[in-house]
């Protein structure tokens, strides 16, 4: 009896669902879907990365300028001119000095900060939020803030130093009442490094934090049971395990510092006497402000092979240390 009831039910079942599931919809054609979903980003990347990139390559070997936009092939002339210019070499050296020192500071401070941020303490969310703020602020805006902080006369940093007796007559930092942060070559470079570090440490800390969170808790517990104290756990267990993400953070820090011109442009405009000039800002001054587009493109492109080599080297080392 029960059997017949079931049979009846299956015959009465609406055949509509069968028919609709037989039709092939767009949702079934994965090949078409792939293209559909990829299209926006492909258009975006081609329009805003690929075209400008190849345009820059074209310009670098031409004589295009703001006054004469007509394209004439000029071979390696732009590079010969750049190499003959001492400012180019100063910029190149500054770029490396600023990038390398920033990179080291960012990695060291970012690692320390991330270890603090993963710890469990009261008000952790407020601290995390505050720490991330520098990175969420546009570079140019925060650079303007730093410009005020480092002002030659009204710098609050100088004021604090004067108050605690580090600055002024008969003090550690000399008889003058101001540091002139952006007015002396060494201090100006240090200031640029300080601002770059300040804005990149939060990013590095968050990346490394993700690496720390990915380490299973029981590894640390096993090390504790095995008799390892804090420093041994830190340097023999935790640090080797976060090396891959530290390398990624390093790569980001290096690329962001290497390619940034906003900090230098806002703080020092490359001065005093080009002592903080970097390739990115020099390319901007030559190409946009000076109107020599071909020359600017040539200088800007000089960054490309260096960055590419650095990225490949770092990503390779990541693969080597990746163990989990």
């Amino acid at each position: 009896m029960a059997g017949t009831l079931e049979d009846d039910a299956s015959q009465d079942a609406p055949p509509v669902s069968v028919r609709s599931s037989k039709r092939i919809t767009l949702g079934d054609r994965e090949g078409a879907l792939a293209w559909l979903f990829l299209l926006p980003s492909v258009v975006y990347i081609v329009g805003l990365v690929a075209i400008p990139f190849f345009l820059a390559i074209g310009f670098a070997f031409s004589d295009v300028s703001a006054g004469d936009p007509s394209y004439d092939f000029a071979g390696l002339r732009n590079y010969r001119r750049a190499f003959a210019d001492p400012v180019f070499w100063t910029s190149l050296r500054n770029t490396f000095v600023i990038t390398v020192i920033t990179m080291i500071l960012v990695v060291v401070l970012g690692t320390i900060l991330s270890n603090i941020l993963v710890a469990d303490f009261r008000g952790k969310w407020v601290v995390r939020f505050l720490v991330l703020l520098p990175w969420t602020t546009p570079v140019s805006l925060s650079s303007v803030t730093w410009l005020w902080l480092l002002d030659s006369i009204y710098s609050p940093i100088d004021w604090v130093m004067r108050e605690v007796g580090l600055l002024g007559p008969d003090t550690l930092f000399g008889p003058t009442g101001n540091m002139y942060w952006l007015g002396k070559p060494g201090l100006a470079t240090a200031s640029v490094i300080m601002v770059q570090t300040w804005r990149l440490v939060p990013l590095a800390a968050v990346i490394i934090m993700a690496g720390l969170a990915a380490i299973p808790d029981d590894l640390d517990e096993a090390a504790r049971v095995d008799g390892a104290g804090f420093w041994r756990r830190m340097f023999e267990i935790t640090t080797p395990l976060i090396m891959p993400v530290v390398a990624v953070a390093t790569l980001f820090a290096a690329i962001f510092t290497f390619t940034d011109m906003a900090v230098v442009y806002v703080l020092t405009r490359g001065g005093p006497t080009n002592s903080t000039q970097v390739l990115a800002s020099w390319a901007y001054y030559k190409g946009i402000e000076g109107g020599d587009i071909a020359q600017g493109a040539a200088i800007a492109l000089f960054l490309f092979p260096i960055l590419l080599a650095a990225a490949v080297a770092i990503l390779r080392s990541v693969r080597k240390v990746e163990v989990l």
Binding site: P216, D218, L219, E221, A222, A223, R224, V225, D226, G227, A228, G229, R232, E236, I237, P240, L241, V321, V323, L324
Partner: protein
């Protein structure tokens, strides 16, 4: 002197409503294999971690070698632990993993090398010393974890479900290896598992835990034959003990003791009509499902007939089964206690 002892151990996790551990009292004997067994969430792992010093008790004391170790960090407790995941250091070789505790206790290099080789030899890891954990099989990883625990010369081994990551076939042989290994080393071992077969097979004594309390401690046969309450009776043994409500008592008997009447020797037995409704053949044994009447309320029970019992059983018919009187167990019907109760005379 007990190697490990816990006194009135109480643990409530921050923000938890219920205590993870009630008031636990437990002591191991020198060189014994004590197995903590219970369903997930019963507090067995919490207890082990509290002994290890990875968790701090809310109240009560942990003693190792007769000394209260409550305030001491794990490294000062003379313990070694094998984690469920093995927690091998993925960036270190097998050698580096086994060597790590020795480095941490600042033992010099030649001595470290000697001990690592000794442990590797003992556990058959010598040819794997240069490998990294991810290049090892589950069983090899487990042995590396054991070797790492071994080189510390601990007063006690704490093992947290070390077999649960192995496949069923490997588990049986690994269980045998573990037992032989401990017999050879002779170190007191506290072993946590949720698998009652593992507990019965490995433990010198087993402690059955449920809801943060120890329900019973005893040798495997004691716990199996004389369960302290209905929880132990149904948790230990597969299939579990049959429980039949009868007046103010629950009458319990193991499936292998419910047999066709002619297979129960002796005159002191309780005969019950058994209406059979299903039968399974499992590794030689016949598992028979059906309803018993006569000793109490009609209740669905399982009978396990060994191969030696050849009495023909027909599904759908009622057969005369019996349980020897000395195999009957009695429990309180109160579901909160279910404790062992005085036996009563069953009319059947």
């Amino acid at each position: 002197m007990a190697v490990v002892e816990v006194r009135d151990l109480h643990k409530v996790y921050d923000g938890a409503q219920q205590a993870a551990l009630g008031k636990i009292n437990l002591a191991t004997e020198e060189g014994e294999y004590l197995v903590l067994v219970g369903p997930s969430g019963c507090g067995k792992t919490t207890l082990l971690r509290t002994i290890a010093g990875l968790e701090q008790p809310t109240a009560g004391e942990v003693l190792i070698g007769g000394e209260v170790v409550n305030g001491l960090p794990p490294r000062a407790r003379q313990i070694a632990m094998v984690f469920q995941s093995y927690a091998l250091y993925p960036h270190k070789t097998v050698f580096g993993n086994i060597e790590f505790p020795l480095k941490a206790s600042r033992i010099d290099r030649p001595e470290r090398e000697r001990k690592v080789r000794w442990a590797a030899e003992l556990l058959g890891l010598t040819r794997l010393l240069d490998r990294r954990p991810r290049q090892l099989s589950g069983g090899e990883r487990q042995r590396v974890a054991l070797a790492r625990a071994l080189v510390r010369d601990p007063a006690v081994f704490l093992l947290d479900e070390p077999l649960s990551n192995l496949d069923a076939k490997l588990r049986t042989s690994a269980r045998d290896e573990l037992k032989r290994f401990q017999a050879e080393i002779g170190t007191t071992t506290v072993y946590v598992t949720h698998d009652q077969t593992e507990a019965m097979g490995l433990g010198d004594r087993i402690a059955v835990l449920s809801d943060g309390a120890v329900r019973q401690i005893g040798s495997p046969s004691e716990v199996y034959d004389h369960p302290a309450d209905t929880f132990v009776a149904t948790f230990i043994g597969s299939p579990p003990m049959n429980l039949v409500p009868s007046g103010d008592r629950l009458v319990g008997f193991r499936p292998e003791h419910l047999l066709p009447e002619e297979d129960v020797p002796g005159s002191d037995r309780v005969t019950v009509p058994f209406a059979v409704d299903r039968m399974e053949n499992l590794s030689g044994d016949r598992h028979i499902y059906g309803t018993v009447t006569g000793i109490g309320e009609p209740t669905r029970v399982i009978a396990r007939l060994p191969t030696t019992v050849t009495t023909p059983i027909t599904v759908g018919e009622s057969h005369a089964f019996a349980v020897a009187a000395d195999r009957l167990r009695f429990f309180d019907t109160d579901p909160d206690s279910g404790r062992r109760a005085e036996p009563v005379r069953l009319e059947a």
